[in-house]
């Protein structure tokens, strides 16, 4: 039996899979960009992944702060879930971006303001996961990770100025939403955002449940060990 503790688990899954199908159909039918060709369709997934990744990192910092404040385990589990899903979405974004860039700019990467900051945030939250993995004791690991997750978020405005100072020329398109999307391109973009948001919430909730089941399992193992010890004595 698959343990599905979340009451709305099946509903969010249905919404998510429905959106994936709808998005795929709409993207397939969207007009092909006159200048960039079919590669422009990466636009329907790349920026939404960026929103999802930053949402994940922001939630990690927020839940980390709540954990430090309240001291309840569930906030830490939410923080870890958000970080993992944020990293996943950020990885996908960092994979789709260069594919688009190679086709349009002619090179895989540019040390542009926004790209550099995103890469740094990615590294920060990868270090966050490593820190958790390398810290013994879940309570201590949770505290360390919360502090680091918050510090990682505070860095964004500072890095913004720093990389601007370093001459991070912005060749990354900035003007989304100002009518820069051609006719027939708005709907797939919007659906892309909704799909990524749905996948974010779905995955975070599932990851949160898995964390809870692991805790229960760990407690059961400890209890069983104690029981055996008592019998042996």
């Amino acid at each position: 039996m698959t343990p599905s503790a979340a009451p709305g688990g099946r509903l969010t899954a249905t919404i998510f899979y429905g959106l994936v199908v709808a998005w795929a159909i709409v993207v397939w039918n969207a007009p092909i960009d006159a200048v960039q060709g079919p590669i422009q369709k990466i636009l329907y997934i790349h920026p939404p992944l960026a929103f999802g990744a930053y949402l994940g990192f922001g939630c990690t910092a927020l839940f980390g702060a709540l954990y430090l404040w309240k001291g309840e385990d569930r906030w830490d589990r939410w923080a870890l879930s958000s970080a993992e899903v944020g990293i996943l979405l950020c990885t996908l974004m960092l994979l789709t971006g260069p594919i688009w860039a190679k086709g349009t700019w002619g090179r895989w990467w540019s040390w542009d303001l926004r790209l550099t900051i995103t890469l740094l945030q990615y590294l920060v939250y990868l270090a966050y996961l490593l820190l958790r993995g390398f810290t013994e004791g879940s309570e201590r690991g949770a505290r360390f990770a919360a502090v680091y997750g918050i510090a990682g978020m505070v860095l964004i405005p500072l890095n913004y100025f720093a990389i601007d100072l370093a001459g991070g020329r912005s060749i990354h398109p900035e003007n989304l939403g100002d009518g820069s999307l051609g006719e027939g391109m708005g709907l797939p973009f919007l659906l892309g955002i909704l799909m990524v948001l749905a996948s974010f919430f779905y995955l975070v909730v599932r990851r949160f449940e898995v964390g809870g089941l692991r805790d229960v399992e760990a407690e059961r193992a400890v209890a069983a060990e104690r029981g055996e010890g008592a019998v042996a004595q």
Binding site: A127, L131, F134, G152, F161, L165, A166
Partner: protein, 221 residues
């Protein structure tokens, strides 16, 4: 306040008696100078000199990581860190004592490394000594503040020496860029450019506050 003084004094006296941290940092920084020089294109022309500010701060950063890794390693013996955490005074003072000690040691290493860089690349720091020291101080402040916080965490992870640079380096970019740009300006025409110094001041303030507040949560009960 007494606790701050006591910890600072203890760290400096221990260092004075053993001299292992500063010597290791200085030798390492010197090695970085040599390695970077060998890795750079041959010759000591103006082109090579343009890279000096960046290389200098790479050496400072790596040396600081080496030193910070030791900052809390000593406290693990006999569980001194747990005893420190039980001290009745504000934990912020423990942080300040540790951070100031690291700051002073890094300052020494910076002076030594700059001398070595000056000799290797034929650069005279003397005419810009005051502003250069200010930039070094501001950079060292950022490195020591965040470094002390992360060192207290990294020392209690499984791979401590590996963990500190992983935690520190991505967060150090604003400090490094500010310091490198300021040093570049100083070495180019002898005047201190304001925007990088401003960035350093703001970053130092933000990092100082985060590290001071975060340290409370990093020590065990």
């Amino acid at each position: 306040m007494n606790l701050l003084g006591a910890i600072l004094w203890k760290d400096l006296v221990t260092e004075w008696r053993q001299r292992d941290r500063v010597v290791a940092m200085a030798v390492f920084a010197l090695l970085v100078v040599v390695v970077l020089y060998m890795a750079a294109p041959p010759g000591m022309g103006t082109e090579a000199r343009q890279h000096v500010p960046g290389l200098l701060w790479v050496a400072f950063t790596f040396a600081s990581i080496l030193g910070l890794n030791r900052a809390f390693a000593l406290e693990l013996e006999n569980d001194a860190l747990a005893a420190l955490a039980m001290a009745s005074a504000d934990r912020g003072f423990i942080f300040l004592g540790k951070a100031i000690a690291s700051f002073l040691l890094l300052g020494l290493v910076q002076a030594f490394t700059s001398l070595a860089f000056g000799m290797a690349y034929g650069i005279d720091f003397w005419p810009v000594l005051g502003p250069f020291a200010l930039v070094c101080g501001l950079g060292a402040f950022g490195l020591s503040a965040v470094g002390t916080l992360f060192s207290a965490m990294a020392v209690r992870t499984t791979y401590r020496e590996v963990m500190l640079p992983l935690l520190m380096l991505p967060l150090m970019i604003p400090v490094l860029l500010g310091a490198v740009r300021a040093t570049e300006g100083l070495l180019a025409d002898g005047t201190l450019p304001w925007p990088p110094v401003q960035l350093l001041l703001v970053t130092d303030a933000v990092f100082g506050i985060i590290a001071y507040l975060g340290f409370e949560a990093v020590l065990d009960e």
